[in-house]
């Protein structure tokens, strides 16, 4: 029977197609990507599972409202590149999101098929078409729209900054992106490891942006070289977008936390992902990865720290978390991958103190067991220490993945910027504008550590807000843009990282 003749019931009964992966014992010795992607036939079969709902809830589940049934339909017809282009109408980074989105909490969480069976593998298919388009050289060069003459500065080149850049370039504005590091991409490059998100995926997205006419300047620390106000006053920018993320690492504030061999996840992952310490001394940045690695925290960052460590070949890697697996903010897939690769988990455990040797290297830790008490502000049950449950472990590398604050560097350079008591920047929900006229913000800087796709969703709101603001301010002869209908009732759950 031709797939197009399938009844909804038959469609739903097709099993969810699994994606081949590198075997755990092999992948733990290399930094190559773990999931290998669908082939064409598997992709078509998977897309056939979509019953093309009249009211597709999946679209509301996606923070950028991708036309999911639309692109799935194109896949079933074998029009893979067209499917990729369809996604790109709303999401400029499909190859990235298809890999790192917490789909299980978003689009796939609300997929109707998932009520009875497993949801359609929307993320895997998104990844498939984006990879197909890229690896078959089918990416068509963007057409440069009529220029408005407006100049936009984007600060930070993470997913938020890159999305605003593309959205504004598409509307005909001239965009310059400033990035503090020597490599654009933000957390996509320095945080998320290459075995989850290969470098050429990010690089090809950056190439596309450049072809749209977006200029990207690396090694440019805004706040030090120019304040947001100076960008507008002295450098001729009409508006500024702040997408500097939430890169401030947290330490647990316990004795001994500064011994050598104790890292923030940011430092550890930056040394590995950005500086390629795994290739030392061919790449000359060093890293100290000992025999026993302890990672504290259980978000995606912690999983990345643990899985990266495994690949450095220590005797053991253990994740310690003060709550239980239920509360762990990491994506299910990341947790499972970590377990398969040999990462051990100790739930309900928190650090009390670290011990060092004569050379100031960490050699042990005193930990304490916890139990879950009453729910806290976030609704999760608060971990409570259990008296007398202290115990010691031996450890020679420690990675703290305890969440992030907002880096104050940019805030200091814009004292008028309103922030809440955690230093998170306040931005208007509908326009993305901050308390400073003409300065917009989105991404982790306004949420304090969330997800790629939420950052991109906010960036799209800010781009629209900025565009409308420019129309008013500069008297542009362009129609004001309204938010897409579905965006107003989007109700996706957000995932914590």
């Amino acid at each position: 029977m031709e797939a197009k003749d399938l009844t909804p019931r038959q469609r739903m009964q097709i099993p969810r197609q699994s994606m081949p992966e590198q075997k755990p014992e092999i992948r733990r010795t290399n930094f190559n990507e773990v999931p290998l992607g669908y082939d064409e036939q598997t992709a078509i079969t998977e897309a056939d599972r979509c019953i093309k709902c009249k009211v597709p809830h999946c679209i509301d589940g996606c923070p950028v409202n991708i036309d999911i049934p639309g692109f799935l339909e194109l896949i079933t017809r074998g029009e893979f590149a067209a499917a990729a282009r369809k996604i790109k109408e709303t999401n400029v980074l499909p190859a990235v999101c298809g890999r790192v989105c917490p789909q299980e909490n978003q689009c796939e969480a609300v997929c109707v098929v998932g009520k009875k069976y497993k949801p359609v593998a929307i993320g895997r298919l998104e990844r498939f078409v984006a990879d197909y388009e890229r690896t078959h050289n089918l990416v068509v060069d963007p057409v440069k729209p009529k220029q408005t003459g407006c100049k936009i500065a984007v600060v930070g080149s993470g997913p938020a900054g890159l999305t605003v850049a593309s959205e504004m370039a598409r509307r005909g504005h001239q965009v310059v992106v400033y990035e503090a590091l020597h490599q654009p991409g933000g957390v996509l490059f320095y945080g998320i490891p290459r075995f989850r998100l290969p470098g050429d995926v990010i690089k090809s997205e950056l190439e596309y942006l450049k072809k749209m006419g977006v200029e990207i300047h690396v090694n440019t620390v805004i706040g030090k070289l120019a304040t947001p106000a100076e960008l507008m006053k002295d450098m001729g920018f009409d508006a500024v977008f702040l997408g500097t993320g939430a890169g401030l690492p947290r330490f647990p504030n316990v004795p001994g936390q500064n011994f050598n061999g104790i890292y923030s996840a940011n430092e550890y992952l930056t040394r590995l992902n950005l500086m390629r310490a795994d290739r030392f001394p061919e790449a000359i940045t060093p890293l100290h990865c000992g025999k026993r690695v302890a990672v504290f925290g259980a978000g995606n960052t912690a999983m990345d720290g643990a899985r990266t460590s495994i690949r450095m070949g220590p005797e053991s890697v253990t994740v310690y978390y003060r709550r239980t697996r239920e509360e762990a903010p990491a994506r299910t897939e990341e947790l499972e991958h970590a377990i398969q690769e040999g990462v051990k988990f100790e739930w309900l455990t928190a650090p009390l103190e670290f011990y060092g040797d004569d050379n100031f290297f960490v050699k042990g830790a005193r930990l304490q067991r916890m139990k879950l008490g009453e729910p806290d502000e976030s609704g999760r049950r608060r971990p409570v220490p259990m008296e007398g449950s202290e115990f010691d472990i031996e450890v020679d590398t420690v990675v703290f993945a305890l969440g992030f604050g907002v880096n104050p560097l940019i805030l200091e350079a814009a004292p008028d910027l309103k922030t809440n008591r955690w230093g998170i920047v306040e931005a208007d929900k509908e326009t993305g504008m901050t308390s400073i006229d003409g300065v917009f913000a989105g991404g982790d800087i306004i949420t304090g550590g969330a997800t790629v796709i939420l950052a991109m969703g906010q960036a799209k709101i800010a781009a629209r807000g900025m565009h409308n603001w420019l129309i008013n301010k500069k008297g542009l002869d362009m129609p004001r843009e309204l938010p897409p209908e579905s965006a107003t009732h989007a109700k996706s759950k957000t995932a914590k990282v």
Partner: protein, 281 residues
């Protein structure tokens, strides 16, 4: 790419470089630093600024070859380029007013104190400089410092030039003879520590510039964390200058030694690479 437009050898394994970085040269202030990465596989290393020319768009660096990257850097020549230069990072040096300001430099630190000395002098203050070195040929930038200070004292460990002794011997005399309102010390940790110990009983505000190991230089990674007054501070973001009386020098010294093993291995690579270069003309 940032072109090296000028190079001068100041002492063995020590060079002065002028590097193109126009935007930074317009913005940098005394006490701030930069981070460089020489090439695609390079490490990011922090360097102080010993001067700049906003018009020419250049920064003046003093680089001492101690390991892989710094040795590779001092082997570069005029016309060569550096891949990445980031800055200005850290904060403008702030010294309390009143009395003389004493500026103390050791090693590359002598370059690092010059912009502050000039600034203080321009503000009408009496500025006294002290340069310390092991031996005569390692005394750097004496003339530059003389141009920025009312008086300059030189000390050498072996007495081959200036006064035999340590910078603290010279500082003791100055404190005995005049009203010192602030001290700035930049150089090896033992020197900064000794200076701080000397000034503490006199209650003389003392700033030291902490050379912690860094990666990003913007406060993102925490590699450069130091303990000051019992609190964690990030040297790249909160500093590099801190109150010398509150710094945990032992921790800083030990943290600087984190990668001794890897550094030795990197030097083997350096030696192999440079042997390769000289063997094939």
């Amino acid at each position: 790419m940032h072109k090296i437009v000028y190079k001068k050898e100041l002492a063995p394994k020590t060079v002065m470089l002028k590097v193109e970085a126009p935007w930074i040269a317009r913005k940098i202030q005394p006490g701030q630093f930069i981070i460089v990465r020489l090439d695609e596989h390079g490490e990011r290393i922090p360097l102080s600024i010993s001067g700049w020319d906003a018009e020419a768009g250049t920064l003046r660096l003093i680089v001492v070859g101690v390991g892989y990257t710094s040795n590779k850097m001092i082997a570069l020549n005029e016309g060569d380029s550096i891949l990445d230069v980031v800055g200005p990072l850290g904060r403008h040096t702030h010294l309390p007013e009143g009395g003389a300001a004493v500026m103390i430099g050791g090693g590359y630190g002598t370059g690092a104190i010059i912009p502050s000395a000039l600034e203080q002098r321009k503000a009408g203050r009496r500025v006294v400089g002290i340069v310390g070195a092991r031996t005569k040929e390692l005394v750097l930038l004496e003339d530059d410092l003389r141009a920025a200070c009312a008086d300059v004292f030189v000390t050498t460990d072996d007495g081959s030039y200036g006064r035999k002794g340590l910078v603290t011997d010279a500082l003791k005399d100055i404190i005995d003879n005049e009203d010192v309102g602030a001290v700035l010390a930049v150089g090896p940790v033992p020197m900064m520590r000794a200076v701080s110990e000397l000034t503490k009983p006199h209650n003389i505000p003392t700033m030291v510039s902490l050379n912690a190991i860094m990666v990003d230089g913007t406060g993102m990674c925490g590699a450069c964390r130091v303990t000051v007054g019992g609190k964690i501070r990030f040297a790249c973001y909160d500093g590099p200058d801190f109150d010398g009386h509150l710094v945990d020098y032992k921790e800083l010294t030990m943290r600087q030694r984190t990668y001794l093993k890897q550094e030795a291995k990197a030097m083997e690579v350096f030696n192999r690479e440079s042997a390769g270069r000289t063997a094939t003309p």
